[in-house]
Amino acid sequence: CSLSLPPVAMSSAATTTPSVDKVDGFSRKSVRKAKQKRSQSSSQFRSQGKPIELTPLPLLKDVPAPEQAELFLRKLQQCCTVFDFMDTLSDLKMKEYKRSTLNELVDYVTVSRGYLTEQAYPEVVKMVSYNIFRTLPPSDSNEFDPEEDEPTLEASWPHLQLVYEFFIRFLESQEFQPSIAKKYIDQKFVLQLLELFDSEDPRERDYLKTVLHRIYGKFLGLRAFIRKQINNIFLRFVYETEHFNGVAELLEILGSIINGFALPLKAEHKQFLVKVLIPLHTVRSLSLFHAQLAYCIVQFLEKDPALTEPVIRGLLKFWPKTCSQKEVMFLGELEEILDVIEPTQFVKIQEPLFKQISRCVSSPHFQVAERALYYWNNEYIMSLIEENSSVILPIMFASLYRISKEHWNPAIVALVYNVLKAFMEMNSTLFDELTATYKSDRQREKKKEKEREELWKKLEDLELKRGLRNDGIIPT
C-alpha cells in the first residue's frame, strides 16, 4: 500500500509561493506533517475567555471516614469540568488540579471499601460520560493511511487516561453491583462507547477495549445489544465506508466472547461467522486486524468443526487476486486453520483447497510461493496430505514439476525439491505414473509444436515458390 500524497498546490500567477517552501514540487507542509505528531482536537464548545475555577478540595485520606462518601461525590462532580488541551497555556493550574484529583480517585476506587453508595453510580457515569463522550474530529480523511501514517493522538490524554483507568477500576471493584449500575450503563451509553472505537489514538482504543470487555462480562442484559451493534459496525465497515479504526480491538473482544460460546453453537453466531467475519477478509486494510480476525475464525472452528467447509470455501471465494501481501496473510490463516482441522473435514475441501495452493505455489511473487511451499514443513498438514496423497498429488504435480524448471527464484526451486521429494517418498507408484504422464504430455506438446512450425515453414516455402513462379516478385 503506498503513501497517498496530498495534491500539488496550484499556485496562480498572482500568488507565488517562494521556492523554499517547495520540496520536489510538493509544498513543505506535507513533508513537515509526516514528521510531526499532531494532536487531535475535540469539538467541544467552551465559552471563550472565561477561566475555569475549581475550589480545591481536601484529600480523601485526610477526611474522617463518614465524610468520605460525600467528598467522593463532590470530587466526581468537579471532574466533570472539561478542559481545552488544544490551548496549551490556558488553565494550567486547574488542569493539574483535575489531574491529581483523578489520580486520587483512581487509587481510592482501587483500595477502598464501602465507598460505593447508590448515589455514586450516576455521578461516576456522568463524570465518565462528560469526559470521554465527544464527537471525534474527522481524520485528515483522504490522507490518513492507517498502515503508513502516524496517528493523531488525543490532546487531552493526560486527563482522559485517568478517567478510563478510573472507570475500569470502578467496574472491576469488588463492591460493584451491576444491578444498580445497569440503570446508568445502558444501551445509549454503550452506543456512545462504541462510537469512540473509531478514535485514532491507539491508547484510547486499548482502554475502550478493556472497558467494553468488562461491561460485556458483567451486564448480561446488554450482551445481545452489544453483539448486534458490533455487527452493524462491521457491516458498515465492509460494505459502505471501509473506514473504522477500532476493528482490531473489537475483534479482540469478540475473540474472548467466541472462546466462551456454549455448545451447540447458536444459529446467530454461525450467521455472524459467515455473513460478517468472512467478508471482513475482503477489506483493503486487512493487515491491521488480520491476526485478531484469524484468531476469531480458528476459535469458531475449534468450537464447531462442522463450520470448516463453509469457512474455507468462503476464504477461497475471497482469495486475493491482485494483492500479494494479502495472499501471504491468507496463506498464514489457512495454515492456522489446517493446524486444527479434523481429518474428516479435510477430506471434504481438499480438492478446491489444493487447487488454490497449487496456484499459489506457481506464483511469480516469491513470497507467496515460498509461504505456500512451507506448508510441507508442517507435520500435521503433511500427515493429512499423506493420507490423501492419491487425491492431492495429481493436483499439485504439474505446477510443482513445471516451476522446478521454470521459476526465476533459486530458493523457490530448492523448496520445490523438498516438496517433490516428500511426495516421492509418500507414494512412489503414483509419483512415477504422474512423472511418466507428464513427460509424455510434454513430448506430445513438443511434437505438436514442431509439426506446427514445420507446417508454417512449408506454407512459407509454398508462398515463396508461387510468388516467384508468377512474376518473379516476392509478395509481401
Binding site: 467541544q44 464548545f45 469540568t81 472539561v82 460520560s129 463522550f133 465527544r134 453491583q177 451491576p178 444491578s179 452506543l191 456512545q192 477495549k209 478493556t210 462480562g217 458483567k218 448480561l220 442484559g221 450482551r223 445481545a224 445489544f225 448486534k228 455487527n231 479482540e252 473482544i253 475473540g255 474472548s256 466472547i257 472462546n259 466462551g260 460460546f261 456454549a262 447458536k266 446467530e268 450467521q271 455473513k275 485478531q292 484468531y295 501471504v328 498464514g332 513470497q367 509461504r371 512451507y374 514443513n377 522446478s404 530458493a411 526451486v413 523448496l415 523438498n418 517433490l420 521429494k421 516428500a422 516421492m424 517418498e425 509418500m426 507414494n427 512412489s428 507408484t429 509419483f431 512423472t435
Partner: protein
C-alpha cells in the same frame, strides 16, 4: 530378421555383463555392516540411492542415468573402504558422471546446482576431485551393461513377436519397478540379465498372457538361466514390488530436509502467533453474586443459564434498517 538380430545382441550383452558387476564380497560386507558402524551400512546406501532417484527425477534425467549412477556407486562401494561422511559426495559424483555420459550437454545441471539442491555440505572442488577418483578406480567404459539394457532388449523382443496382440508390456512401468528394486542393495548382487528377467516374468504373470510367457521361456533358455536362480530372484522382486505398490507411506528415516526461507517470510512466520490477552467470557455466564437478571427475567420465563439473549434483544438479528444512533448531548 529383427528377432534374430535382437537375440544375438542379447547374447552379446549377456557375455559382457560380468564385467560390470560390483564385487559380491564388497556388497556382502555392506549388508553386514551395522548402522552406526565404521563403514557404509545397507540402510545408508539404500537411503542415498533413494536420494539419487529424487535428484534424477527432479533434474529430469532419464532412467538410464539413474541406473548407471547406481551401478557406478555399487561398484565403487564394493571395492573401496569408504567412510559414511563421504558417501554423499561419492553418490552425487556418480550421478554427475552418469549425466555427463548419457544426457545431452544442455540438460546436465551444474555441479553448483547439484550441491545446492541436494543440500550437501561439500564444495564444487570436492566433487570434482571425487569424480576423478571414481573415474580412475572404475576404469570407466561407456555404456556398461545394466539391468536396464536387458529390460529394453526383452521388451523389444516381446514387441517383435506380439505385434498383433493388444496387450503390450508397459516399458515405463517396468523401468519404474527396476528403479524401486535398485533402491535395495540386495538386488545389486543379482546378475542384471536375471534381475530384468524376473521383472519381466512378474509383469507377464500379472498380464496373464500365455504368448508372452512363451517368449520369456525362450529368452531364459537362450541365455541358459537356471530355474533356481530365476525363482530366487523373482521372490525377492515380488516382495519388493509389493512394498512399492502398497498404499502405506514410507516415512524416510534419514535426515530431515532443510527448509530455508527468505528473511521476510521468516519474520512473518515468527510474528504471526497471536495469543489472546482478554480473559474468556463464558456465554450465559452466571455469577452467583449478581442476581439482577434472575429477578428481572422471571416474568419472561427464560432459562437464564442457557440464554445469551437478554431482555434487551430486539427481534431480527439482521435488521432491515439501521437503528438510529443515540446522539450524545453534551452540555458543559
Amino acid at each position: 530378421m529383427e528377432a534374430f538380430r535382437l537375440m544375438k545382441e542379447l547374447k552379446a550383452n549377456f557375455e559382457q555383463e560380468a564385467n560390470y558387476l560390483p564385487k559380491e564380497a564388497g556388497l556382502s560386507l555392506i549388508e553386514s555392516t551395522q548402522q552406526n558402524g565404521n563403514g557404509i551400512s545397507a540402510k545408508c546406501r539404500d537411503a542415498k540411492v533413494e536420494d539419487l532417484w529424487s535428484l534424477t527425477s527432479f533434474f529430469g534425467y532419464g532412467t538410464q542415468t539413474f541406473v548407471l549412477a547406481v551401478n557406478l556407486l555399487d561398484r565403487f562401494l564394493a571395492m573401496m573402504k569408504v567412510q559414511p561422511k563421504h558417501l554423499a559426495c561419492i553418490s552425487i559424483g556418480c550421478l554427475h558422471i552418469a549425466a555427463k555420459v548419457l544426457e545431452e550437454e544442455c540438460n546436465v545441471s551444474t555441479t553448483h546446482e547439484l550441491i545446492r539442491i541436494s543440500q550437501c555440505k561439500f564444495t564444487v572442488s570436492d566433487l570434482s576431485r571425487m569424480e576423478k577418483i571414481i573415474s580412475e578406480k572404475l576404469n570407466l567404459q561407456f555404456r556398461p551393461v545394466t539391468a536396464l539394457t536387458f529390460l529394453h532388449l526383452y521388451h523389444a523382443i516381446a514387441l517383435s513377436h506380439t505385434s498383433e496382440r493388444k496387450e503390450t508390456l508397459n516399458l515405463d512401468k517396468l523401468e519404474a519397478q527396476l528403479k524401486a528394486c535398485l533402491c535395495r542393495i540386495v538386488f545389486s548382487k543379482a546378475k542384471p540379465s536375471v534381475l530384468a528377467l524376473s521383472l519381466l516374468t512378474q509383469e507377464i504373470e500379472s498380464l496373464q498372457s500365455v504368448d508372452m510367457q512363451e517368449i520369456a521361456e525362450r529368452i531364459q533358455a537362450h541365455l541358459k538361466i537356471a530355474d533356481s536362480d530365476l525363482l530366487y530372484w523373482r521372490e525377492l522382486v515380488a516382495k519388493c514390488l509389493a512394498d512399492y505398490a502398497s498404499p502405506e507411506c514410507s516415512k524416510p528415516d534419514n535426515k530431515k530436509l532443510v527448509w530455508i526461507v527468505s528473511r521476510r517470510t521468516a519474520q512473518h512466520l515468527q510474528g504471526s502467533y497471536y495469543g489472546p490477552e482478554l480473559p474468556t467470557i463464558p456465554e450465559g455466564a452466571w455469577d452467583e453474586s449478581e442476581s439482577e437478571d434472575l429477578s428481572d427475567d422471571a416474568s419472561s420465563g427464560e432459562e437464564c443459564l442457557s440464554s445469551s439473549l437478554g431482555s434487551d434483544a430486539e427481534g431480527l438479528y439482521f435488521p432491515t434498517h439501521y437503528c438510529s444512533k443515540g446522539r450524545k448531548a453534551h452540555t458543559s
